[in-house]
Amino acid sequence: MNVGEGINEGVPGMGNVSRERLRVRKSQGRFEGTGRKGRGWRGQRGRYGVFAFWAFLLLSLTLSSGLLLGGGKAEGGGKAETPGATPWIEGVEKTGKAEHVLVQAASSNPLFPLEVRDSYNRRVRLTTPPQRIVSCAPNMTEILFYLGEGKKLVGRTDWCNWPEEAQRIPSVGGLQDPSVERIVQLKSDLVLASSHFQKETVELLESVGIPVYVGLASREYEEVYRLIRSVGLLLGIPERAEGKVKDMHDQMEGIRKKTIATPNKPRVYYMISFGDEGDYTAGSDTHIAQLIRWAGGHNVGDVIRGWRFSVEGLVKEDPDMILVRRGGNIPEQLKKLSPYRQLRAVREGRVYEIDTDSIDRMGPRNVEGLRQLSKVIHPELILP
């Protein structure tokens, strides 16, 4: 029998075969379809995936157990109750009992031991006044020096540039990721931190026995005073802090009395960034807005909350003056860039460079900031 014979009547007669029979989904034919690489490949990847998952799990377990075992849970400076934690304040003896301190602190201060709650409602316990402070926020550094305790600073961030003396203190890194190792190496007994600080860093520092105070100030300017008072308490100088706060308050009030009386409130736009970097300003819920209001101006950014604005919004608001930071000759740049160059304030030359650190950082320098703002917004006033 010849295989090729008789089975097919010829191709043109194919038309009468119904389509349903001919169509087969997921054919094993020549066409391999839409981008699948074939079951074999996927199966293999599944195997590798499972292996990778377990390897990763094992690795992270090993790492975290190493971390946990390495440091003990200790509380506060001056107490070394957990076996394995190294006492670094000299003279402290391990008694295994809580609350037992044998050493005399640098100055026996009746306030200590004390416990304060920070902005995250964490308990910060100190048994003696801290002597070696690391500041992880520029405003904390400024507050520390303002309160006259700058000598106690042993570490700061790269951004802490005021006052001059602060720059001579060794740095522990940046705002978000300071080096915990450095802080430990500096034998710090208190870390002052602010909003950028990461929760993991706090926990890490706590686990090696260094107390961390995270101080935030929210929209109400009163919060800044509270912050300074808390730091003063932590340092064991609450009355001095109170005095300094009153000082600040009085100075600010002095300026406010003058500015409040002005009949006109110029429309001020605080330009944080513009153009390709996005239009950012101080929204109604920021402390900067508060300062501008106190300086006798109307903050154009009040139409938003937060920081992100739009160039169209800026055009619509058409401010009387624009405040920019120093550096890069921003007023010139604005003159060349559309649509900023058509803004009234730019055309009439009312773009002013100011020192933004004293305004951005919530702390004692806000007095200067306020004064600066008032001078720019109401040059006609004579300020105390």
Partner: protein
């Protein structure tokens, strides 16, 4: 049967016309919407050249802000769609997007350098960021070509691998730079999220000829793309000189992508989703697919930017965020519907 074939072809043409009309409508809507209260009638009058009785603030909003932004949005949408289509066909992969050759990382590096070196604004009227991101993107393409020249066997897979490696490498360099200059992180990250808010007339003037060049090049390669979809071997038997054509396509697509990224930052999903949508609507012939893709891309981007500037008014979202959020459900439905066609 042949009748029906032509009927379907006519329908496709009508569809393209419809899309074009939608684009035009979308453009007019786009111009009339925004923080500054310029109404539809007034914006039309400004477009037509009337100046009497027009508030200068409104004029500035339309001519100085919205019009350049509109053109930028259309260019970026169409450009990303075109280069996405080209790459999907070239690499025979429906998941390819305009950034597979590592261009996005190069653009981000350019921007980072611009910001860190202080060239970020007011440079040649273009903005240093625009210029540097474009150079960074084209520079990366150059590196791709150089590497391909060095390697003996240059297949599609090789190109993709080079793109992936460049992406990783350049991103690592950017991370290093960011780490050393942490105060500028925010500006850079925000730029990468994508935004056409800073479009100006100067930028658009620079971008338009480059865009047209790139788009023309891609359209001219329609026939080659038709065959490349089948694979290199088959394409060769149809007389397509594969290495040469591949070089040309990557060159023009890179040009397009670079100019888009310089205008808007890295905006995802447009270049991935619109080619697939276009193919569902119009089949596989690139002369039609490219037209549909460009129109759909422009429309998609326009819609996304409209949302970006109105959802949180007077604040704004980065348009890249909106395209990603919109893109995911669109993409999911595409995948689900992928076996059903409309034509």
């Amino acid at each position: 049967m042949i009748q029906e074939f032509y009927r379907i072809e006519r329908r496709k043409e009508l569809g393209a016309l419809l899309l074009a009309i939608l684009c035009a409508g979308g453009a007019i809507l786009y111009l009339s919407v925004g923080v500054v209260p310029v109404g539809l009638g007034e914006s039309l009058r400004i477009l037509l050249g009337y100046r009497e009785g027009i508030d200068p603030g409104h004029l500035l909003a339309i001519e100085g802000i919205r019009l350049p932004r509109l053109i930028a949005a259309l260019l970026v949408g169409a450009g990303l769609a075109l280069s996405g289509t080209a790459y999907q066909s070239l690499f025979q992969n429906r998941l390819a997007d305009p950034f597979v050759t590592g261009i996005s990382a190069g653009a981000v590096l350019g921007t980072t350098l611009a910001i860190l070196l202080g060239f970020s604004s007011g440079f040649l009227g273009l903005g240093g960021i625009t210029l540097f991101s474009f150079l960074g993107a084209m520079g990366t393409s150059l590196v791709v070509f150089l590497l391909l020249g060095v390697l003996k066997r240059a297949s599609s897979a090789t190109i993709l691998l080079i793109g992936i490696s460049l992406n990783f490498f350049l991103s690592a360099v950017v991370s290093l730079l960011l780490f050393l200059h942490r105060n500028r992180i925010e500006s850079i990250v925000l730029w990468t999220m994508g935004s056409v808010a800073s479009a100006t007339r100067d930028k658009v003037f620079f971008a338009l000829p480059v865009f047209l060049l790139g788009a023309a090049g891609i359209f001219a390669s329609s026939r080659s793309l038709d065959y490349l979809v089948l694979g290199e071997d088959i394409a060769r038997t149809h007389g397509i000189r594969v290495p040469r054509v591949r070089f040309r396509i990557i060159l023009f697509a890179s040009l397009l992508t670079s100019v888009c990224v310089s205008l808007s930052g890295v905006v995802g999903f447009v270049g991935l989703v619109t080619p697939n949508m276009a193919r569902i609507l119009t089949g596989t012939r690139h002369r039609s697919v490219l037209v549909y893709a460009a129109l759909l891309g422009a429309l998609f981007f326009l819609g996304a930017d409209l949302l970006a500037k109105t959802l949180l008014s007077p604040s704004e979202l980065p348009v890249g965020v909106v395209t990603s959020l919109l893109g995911v459900p669109v993409f999911a439905s595409l995948v689900w519907k992928s076996s059903r066609r409309i034509y």
